[in-house]
């Protein structure tokens, strides 16, 4: 694949493709509005689950309601780039199965880029909005300090965390290049992502290590939000988030491309 074309070239193309996608989505206005409502509704019900638990119990292993809401909000924010920009992953198994994936192989631009650029999922912004509200609310309730560097650091940490969500989604969807019935891999990745909403201190050491080194779900919210939530308890993993995130994303990209290039174009 041609990677020599500059990043500006890709940005320009991306804008063009995405504008088309948004235009076509806007023509189905009801779908757009209902999807957005559905997304926010799902997030509210997720928060309601926590709220219900805290009606009867004072804390979860020393984590109070507001801290849990912070983690929940953070996990929604860090899931936004994957939701908005890489959502076409969910359709991959369908186009691979029916053979229409072949059209992406004939363009003189990066295959992965072209495929992902085709869809911009607007409802991810609803999730983002709810995440911001949840974090701002709990930040305020917990009266966490707000330094001059807090906002840039938060953005940096959220972006680093988002790399893990994207990578996991890429890996799960790439299974369709090898398996016929790969929807379940995507469902599994969603189950794994559920782990991100909770402080990993509730798990035993083995699971903690698994969630850190093998399936790095703990980097999607827990480690990167520690500098804000519990400044004094920051562990070394927090500093590793961006580096490890880039590494994990790179692996997922390689796996995805390997599958795509091995694709024989006949469908299954």
């Amino acid at each position: 694949m041609n990677m020599k074309k500059g990043i500006l070239f890709y940005l320009r193309i991306y804008r063009k493709i995405v504008v088309q996608d948004i235009k076509s989505k806007m023509s189905y206005r009801a779908d757009f509005i209902i999807s957005m409502i559905g997304m926010i509704f799902t997030n509210i019900c997720g928060a309601l689950g926590f709220w219900l638990i805290f009606q009867r119990f004072p804390s979860i292993d020393g984590w109070n309601y507001n801290e849990m809401m912070f983690l929940y909000g953070f996990s929604l924010i860090s899931a936004t780039p994957a939701q908005c920009l890489f959502d076409n992953n969910w359709n991959l198994r369908i186009v691979v199965y029916d053979g229409s994936f072949i059209k992406y192989c004939f363009r003189p631009i990066n295959l992965f880029f072209y495929y992902m650029s085709e869809v911009f999922d607007v409802k991810g912004l609803g999730q983002f909005l709810f995440g911001i509200i949840a974090v701002a609310y709990s930040w305020n309730k917990l009266s966490l300090p707000f330094h001059w560097y807090s906002l840039p650091l938060f953005i940096f940490m959220a972006l680093s965390a988002s790399l893990f969500v994207i990578a996991l989604l890429n890996l799960a969807s790439a299974t369709c290049f090898w398996l016929v019935h790969s929807f379940f891999a995507l469902q599994l990745s969603n189950t794994l992502r559920d782990f991100a909403k909770y402080p990993i201190t509730i798990f035993g050491l083995t699971i903690r290590n698994l969630l850190t080194f093998v399936i790095p779900v703990a980097f999607m919210a827990f480690y990167p939000s520690m500098p804000f939530l519990r400044e004094t308890q920051v562990q070394w993993q927090t500093y590793l988030t961006p580096v490890f995130g880039i590494f994990f994303l790179y692996i997922s990209y390689k796996v995805w491309m390997k599958g795509a290039l091995a694709y024989d174009g006949t469908g299954n």
Partner: protein, 267 residues
């Protein structure tokens, strides 16, 4: 009316679901991961409680309830909304309506084979493991009979709810948003994520009036409380049977009036 046409549809569904054994394994792994998560979550939650018994439930009661709840939900998982939504969008529904069987029955018997497979492959093993691990915490007797009856009703009620939500797709031409709202409502208000016993009293009273709790809460109460008298059991079943009857008529009625609205372009 012959039984044969239904049994052949169910059989086809079973064979279809058995075809994808790897999917079954991956789903099982996913379910086990979910159980691992809720085990640690609720352990941490109970660690912070003042007493080991909260609202009449201990940690192990809660776990047994939640394990059963999640495997009930798994076994009852349906794709009716997606199927109906897609066939409405593509216009295929026009042909399906011509079948010599009512659309609702067709959807039900066509999908139930997969539920039967999932009952055998996920619910039964889970139930057996729970019985062994909990070392007879659940006494078996007539409560099993009530549970099976109630779980059967749950499956049908769940289907009617899905069928009605699928019918909504005729008005909205959208699936994802409608379906996801159904999923979260059913999960939350059925007591599958947080046992209804822990709901604040005012909310609990409302939730107990809704049909969703009859999907998970009713069969589980009947199974996990062998000490209930016959009277108590029928009091538990009454709302479920009532909702079954209501939804039986309402889902049919709603579908029929909605059919008048449908426009199929090109078919």
């Amino acid at each position: 009316m012959s039984i044969k046409k239904y049994s052949s549809m169910i059989r086809a569904g079973i064979l279809d679901a058995l075809q994808f054994r790897l999917a079954l394994i991956v789903t099982t792994v996913g379910n086990l991961l979910y159980l691992l998560l809720i085990y640690h979550l609720w352990k941490a939650v109970f660690a912070s409680a003042d007493s080991p018994v909260v609202n009449g439930m201990t940690f192990s009661d809660t776990m047994i309830y939640l394990v059963f709840a999640s495997s009930l939900m798994n076994f009852m998982e349906m794709w009716v909304v997606w199927f109906m939504g897609r066939s409405i969008q593509s216009g295929e529904i026009a042909c399906d309506l011509l079948r010599p069987i009512s659309y609702r029955s067709w959807r039900f018997f066509d999908g139930i084979g997969e539920n039967i497979v999932k009952f055998v492959t996920t619910f039964l093993p889970t139930a057996i493991v729970v019985f062994i691990v909990s070392k007879g915490a659940i006494k078996l007797g007539s409560n099993l009979l009530f549970f099976v009856f109630s779980a059967g009703l749950s499956l049908v009620i769940n289907f009617y709810i899905n069928f009605m939500v699928g019918t909504i797709c005729m008005y909205t031409d959208t699936i994802w948003g409608i379906n996801i709202m159904k999923v979260v409502i059913v999960e939350l208000f059925s007591g599958a994520t947080v046992p209804i016993a822990f709901f604040p009293d005012s909310i609990k009273q409302i939730v107990l009036l809704l049909p969703f709790q009859t999907i998970v809460n009713t069969p589980l109460q009947l199974l996990l409380h062998p000490e209930f008298s016959l009277m108590e059991r029928f009091t538990m079943l009454a709302p479920q049977i009532t909702w079954f009857v209501i939804l039986f008529f309402v889902s049919d009625w709603f579908f029929n009036i909605s059919l008048r609205r449908i426009t199929v372009n090109g078919g």
